[in-house]
């Protein structure tokens, strides 16, 4: 019997629950033969989005729904929460080219989410935020180190 290719969870985004979720997702993806880099990126994107939700989304007491699906060329993810409207794509870009003494502490989480995903879409519907993302499987790093993936 083939294991289901989809992982589903309802997670209240406490730090402990986020760790447990990413461990479960890691196990699911590894069982389906997803490469280490895509597994890592999927876990990191989930961790950053859910942590941001708990910190800024004001919905730490309500579970977010997470769906992860393994497709031939990519890992797809969807995170749905009932917090106030927030499009993670609209977060300001951090300043990356300033001296270390002058770098602000923070602002990197959603920046990482944008950089690690090959697609990132946001929809507000039925009073819920829905964020869908794609992570390329078997991708290589761009020579310019921008983090965008290329498939060979």
């Amino acid at each position: 019997m083939t294991a289901p290719m989809q992982f589903e969870s309802a997670t209240v985004p406490t730090p402990e629950a986020v760790v447990a979720l990413t461990e479960n997702v890691t196990q699911f993806l590894e069982e389906h033969g997803v490469d280490m880099r895509a597994v890592h990126h999927t876990s990191l994107v989930l961790s950053e989005v859910l942590t941001n939700l708990a910190t800024h989304g004001g919905c730490c007491d309500r579970p977010a729904r997470i769906v992860i699906a393994v497709e031939p060329g990519r890992v797809m993810g969807e995170i749905t929460d009932s917090g106030p409207p927030f499009d993670p794509r609209s977060a300001p870009e951090p300043s990356l080219d300033v001296a270390i003494e002058d770098r602000p502490i923070g602002g990197l989480g959603l920046f990482l989410v944008r950089k690690l995903t090959s697609a990132l879409e946001y929809t507000r519907r039925n009073d819920e935020n829905s964020l869908t993302f794609a992570i390329t499987r078997g991708g290589n790093r761009d020579p310019d180190r921008s983090g965008r993936e290329t498939v060979t």
């Binding site: 942590t51 502490i105 990482l112």
Partner: protein, 112 residues
């Protein structure tokens, strides 16, 4: 996350193992930051056992870098795993920090 520190010559070497994430970063910054007590401290973080670093972990690293720099010291990372290295590259940390392939090389470069 497991944290072990030792002094090699004049350099504090901190070996971390596990996830440097929102749950671990505050304790990590506090424990490692407590080592920075002297003038011109030398601090090396060995990340060979660190397989996951979130933005919260990056913030902890940045706090430590700032503390070391404020004391006129030097800071470096070594043995960073590839996915973590990619995160450091994307966020511009690689350009701000000294990152060495191995511990011995890092200690030599920091002057012991």
């Amino acid at each position: 996350m497991e944290i072990h520190d030792e002094r090699i010559g004049n350099t504090f070497v901190v070996t971390a193992k596990g996830r440097l994430d929102g749950g671990a970063s505050a304790a990590f910054a506090e424990k490692v930051g407590a080592l920075i007590t002297s003038e011109k401290p030398k601090l090396l973080l060995d990340f060979a056992g660190v397989d996951f670093v979130t933005s919260a972990g990056l913030r902890a690293v940045l706090v430590l870098v700032k503390k070391v720099k404020a004391a006129g010291g030097s800071f470096a990372l070594c043995a960073v795993q590839e996915p973590v290295r990619e995160v450091l590259d994307i966020t511009g940390f690689t350009d701000m920090l000294r990152i060495h392939a191995a511990r011995a090389e890092a200690i030599a470069a920091m002057g012991g």
